[in-house]
Symmetry: D2
Subunit: 235 residues, 4 copies
């Protein structure tokens, strides 16, 4: 495979969205780097997807992030598309959560996003192209009673993404934020909510199509914030 | 041409966005109804585009709207996609504008949107499919000192679109709002701002691609509000 | 009573908020002009409140507004505080409401606000003081399925208020918007919801205290948007 | 001084807002606990203000917070009003800031807010009264190019405050957020911007009046988010 093959990094690959993003970009001809803390899902997926590779990475740890992106650069090449897809956080109100829960949610969603983005910005800026897509949640817009740890973490991620967009768009780097509103379809969510109909769930492959569309947008009509939700969702 | 050919109605067709939407949907195989108050641009465009037809319509007048949609239904068939693309409004602060300016902006942007939507909703609901796309502006998010007539009209349009989305999505009808942030490229805007570089302007064809993408979204990941702006825009 | 006595105009006086505003400003030493379409409540209230006067006015009619403010100026003096407190609107989704409902809601909430404001702005600007307070609703932030007429009207009112604030603050005129979230206590609302506890309702006198506080704010820390809701409200 | 004297804790006391809050609540009859990292300003202020006491506290350190609030409880009594007034953060775009800057801003603004709030919530809930006021910034609403560390920290603080409000209001505890838009007057800001007129600056005493008004609001018309800015501010 030539060095010209574009490279997509998916940070946070589980059975849901992350895997769907990896499939979508593989189909489009990208080599995909699959990052997760414990590499089980990623290694199996890497075996399936042409050109993909799994990397174990703790995105809340600067040294681990630096090592991983060094390996990606030497093994796959410079990054064209970075997708930050952190796992969801801890539920609970301000009395339920511990300061540790609060910090862990922030580290995964906000600090991790900064660490991985800082790895790819210099080359993207130099080349005046590239895309950085943050997968957020509508919780970023509103602190709910039961999201005392999760909502502030998502609000920080969103704010960071917006700051980056304002700074990097004029340099030709497309930073975007996808707000997923609703429950993502997966074996786990089906098991948790066995009575919900098909229409209740957001399909990862449908979300992946929209992430891919963002990356394809012409620069005279770029989107920063994109919300997606199932048609039957009450919002 | 068979009755199965899908039909797209573009309300408000000038040389910019409206024409680009018409071209995009014609390319995709739609028959397009081109609506404008004075039919000059629309008739010329209808002559160019395969299957398109021009209709003179004052969207702020219920009787004119009813007549026009009756003609569309009998000549082209039921409407699959409705795009409300009202012309931009009057500029001025609260002391500059007259109550007449204020009313005219609202009629075009808000009342007109209601009148055309009410024409297509019954059949779309019955068939559980169809798309209604409102072309808005970021002025809808914020009343600026100099947009005392325009911003309230766009805010009302946005609010109506959101109300419709919450009501119609569960019935299978996709209502969406595209917020265009920036100056749309056209001979007129180039003449008004001769010193601006190419990168300053939003290209109608690029916006049209995004409107078409909305209509193609799978129903498990629909977007309501979509913002688009040129990469070089300061926001 | 001397011409120096400050004057407050309350536009839209029913048994709830409007009456409470009138009482609060009367207590603070203002002469209050009480405006309503049919003058029943206002005339009774004017008889109770020291220095108050009732005026019949249709705020959606420019001639009626001009006549009324001419009378206020000659009978009470120039206006120091203007409170726009339009009655609530029509409920219903996009299929329920008529274009007439949509227009009537907009006329009361948005056009009426412009008409009354334009009456007082010139003198307030000249004197570099005065307050214009719009009583809005949280519906202005969000188009709900069942507020297809009401929400767009409130969104337009809010946008107009914000445009006015940005234009008039630097000239020393304080424009503000109070978003009331919840059901206002009144005999009518108690009858409609007989099972709700006391804590469910927003008390007009408590809201009036906050409107008065706005008018008293020092100009180095002015508020534009102020939301108030009962502590027990779910939001 | 009786144990019935109400107690106000100001977290983050410098020469600007924090001192003004302390003066305002002292005037209103509160005993005020003045918290800062290095106790210089606070000790001098405590000597001036009747009943006030200075405490050295690192609000980003759980043990320090616990020790400090233990001392406050035994020396002044249970807390009636808690004001979280963190110092402002690091400026810079995503390329300028380090992960350390990003973390420090978040610790002061978000984690620190959680730690101090968790100290007072149990007793406030039990007594069904008390106020927790977060001093935020309009940066919380929008990630600017140059606020890559500050805006996400303020967004997290705001989201936490909103989550707490939704959870604690129904229990009778008033959580509010004051968004200060503009530059706060202080010897330091005057030195930094020597050419700005008086009207440019937000006066701490005027902001303190509004914080005090929040604490006085009747529970049938509570405010969550309160924005204040100088009348001459461009926004």
């Amino acid at each position: 495979m030539s060095l010209q093959t574009p490279v997509c990094v998916v940070v946070g690959v589980g059975a849901g969205n992350g895997a769907a993003f990896a499939r979508r970009f593989t189909t489009a001809g990208y080599r995909v780097a699959l990052l997760s803390r414990s590499g089980q899902v990623t290694r199996q997926l890497a075996a399936e997807l042409d050109g993909a590779r799994a990397y174990d990475c703790d995105v809340t740890d600067a040294a681990s992030v630096e090592r991983t992106f060094g390996a990606i650069r030497s093994e796959l090449g410079e990054v064209d598309v970075l997708i930050h897809n952190p796992g969801s956080g801890v539920w609970g109100n301000v009395e339920d959560i511990t300061p540790g829960d609060f910090e862990a949610s922030w580290k995964t969603n906000a600090l991790g996003g900064l660490l991985v983005a800082q790895q790819v910005i210099p080359v993207m800026k130099k080349n005046r192209r590239g895309s950085i897509v943050f997968i957020g949640a509508t919780a970023s817009r509103r602190g709910g009673a039961k999201t005392a740890a999760f909502a502030p973490a998502k609000a920080a991620q969103k704010s960071l993404a917006e700051s980056m967009a304002r700074h990097l768009w004029p340099a030709g780097v497309h930073v975007a934020l996808v707000l997923v509103d609703g429950v993502i379809d997966s074996p786990a969510s089906r098991k948790r909510m066995p009575d919900k109909p098909e229409s209740f769930f957001a399909q990862p492959s449908a979300i992946a199509d929209q992430v891919f569309n963002l990356v394809q947008q012409k620069s005279s009509a770029w989107t920063f914030e994109l919300e997606v939700r199932p048609f039957a969702e009450v919002w």
